[in-house]
Amino acid sequence: MTVEPLFGPDEISRTIRRLAHEIIENNHGAVGLIIIGLLSRGYPLAVRLAKAIGEFEGVTVPVGRLDIGLYRDDVTRRTAPPKVRPSEIPGTIDDMTVVLVDDVLFTGRSIRAALDALIDYGRPARVRLAVLVDRGHRELPIRPDFVGKNIPTALVQTVQVHLAELDGEDGVYVFGEEAAHA
């Protein structure tokens, strides 16, 4: 079976550049910013965002990666427990503006876990949330500050983001019943 992506590489690239501008505007520049991506697919997005922000502002923006496996609320309810990987946070997050980055925002439970994980590293001045895709169906009071694409979905559907760094190509896919068409 062959499926066309809902969004391709060009669209994703434009979206990341727009998100970078929004983050700079919101933060009044790039000072005190640290971009932290959730493993696995939030991290390459964080790297791209930091690079774009760095280019626009002429600075180097620190990037970190956060594994939330040990902070999930369903660790003991899954048939296969999540594989845990090392997190890596450069320097301190104390008094910084942390932008958490993930590929798809769904129930909000990953972000809750990420906030728990983040607090173990220090006390940031503020935490913002940037996602490439918001597909709705929140189960917790969590909302994103920067959204790439809003994709209304049914619960039975699956949204997958593919990134060149991990999957060899960029693309946003929707699977399942009545998949939306661009």
Binding site: V3, Y71, P81, K83, D120
Partner: protein, 327 residues
Amino acid sequence: MLEVREEEAAGTSIEAHWKSKDLLDTDTLTPADIELVMETADAMHEIRSRPVGKVATLRGATVVTLFYEQSTRTRASFEVAAKSLGADVVNLTAAGSSVEKGESLIDTVRTLEAIGADVVVMRHGKSGAPYLAARHTKASVINGGDGTHAHPTQALLDLFTIRRHVGNVAGKKVVIVGDVLHSRVARSNLWTLMSAGANVVLCGPATLIPRTLAGAGEQGSCEVTTDFDTAIEGADVVMALRIQKERMETGLIPSLRDYIRGYQLNARRLDRAQPGALVMHPGPMNEGIEIAPDIAHGLSSVIEEQVTNGVAVRMAVLYLITTARQP
């Protein structure tokens, strides 16, 4: 365009995960199991290096350490590991428990299970005792050392430590010197090291080395020799084992002086190994007997690091076993 694989469309990606209820020895671990422990331990190592080296993942789980033999590092290491993952820990030693009143091992583990133990970490003087315990309880049993048989978490932490220094272990020469015959550490290490592709040399006095262990595995190999000076040539890792005084009393070694002359890991011998070869010891050490003090605390020594890494590796094992218990 994308070729859709069935399992992806169904939203269930297939990942290696832990399957066995217990960890009794390393000989039943597949290379994928070992890799999973190593990768998980990497993440645990990072947690331990944070300002707050603790997470709440295993809150609600109860880990019992049941030690019929004395221990400092293994028991303390398991306790810190379990607490770092948020589990509750109960420490039992044979002295002061109902074992002194004659309670059998089977009754003891059943009682612990009835109390609500999810994991029992057990050390026992008799080889095979944890296997008996594991058969009679639904709790997971982790072997913390049984007689002269096995000490799986020590072998895993040794491999983890070696990997952090030399990277890929395949083709590396690892010399284990001392009382190999009575060493559960050597035995468990042999399986993990060979599985990782190392060339292992077991070395010691003729009365203290099992010649039957020589041979080649699918990847690594094992050689047995009495000549330490030759064995250590070009070694990437040298692991000295504790020599127990009772071996002398039973006549297996003629005298400590003879042992030191033939098998002590000292500066002169270490010069024959690869430059920067790792010096390891499972502890507790008899400094001046199996290892010279300047080597035990020298630049090449990773002996303290072994202890530190032990916590991360035991966290990994506790995490994998406890989460695998759930439906």
